[in-house]
Symmetry: C2
Subunit: 73 residues, 2 copies
Amino acid sequence: MAGKSGPSPARLTFGKKLRAVRRAKDMTLEDLAETSGLNWSYISQVESGHRNIAVDNMWKLAQGVGMELKDLL
Amino acid sequence: MAGKSGPSPARLTFGKKLRAVRRAKDMTLEDLAETSGLNWSYISQVESGHRNIAVDNMWKLAQGVGMELKDLL
DNA sequence: GTGTGACTTCTAGTCCGTA
DNA sequence: ATACGGACTAGAAGTCACA
């Protein structure tokens, strides 16, 4: 794993909200991978809080799910 | 400089708001460096949008300035 | 369709000096 | 008190195979 240190509150907040929104929109990881331009496997790790994701990618995921970034925090 | 790619909208939004809030609270970069545990030189680059900061550190900066992370986006 | 570990490449993040 | 640059290390980005 790349994001070694255990899930932090910040990662978990973002990850859980992202997953909730994605599912609410009936999107699979593969769907979101396509709309965000990121790898589905990577997104899976982000949603579970195992990755310390940076702003640019947070933004892409927010866009990919049709929301403002601040609404995922 | 490490963060090569130019400032993205996501970086700029966060950076500008952080700088505004920090100054509104009369904090210097060194003050924020101390309350957040991050390097002041690095924070300077984040505020100007030159760095693609990760969530955990965004959280630390939000804490260091006494705000919720979502309010800096 | 999804979670995870492992791996390489690239940059986030530190530290120092200089202005 | 802030900015910028170089040089370095830790860790994020990005991908894959297997469950």
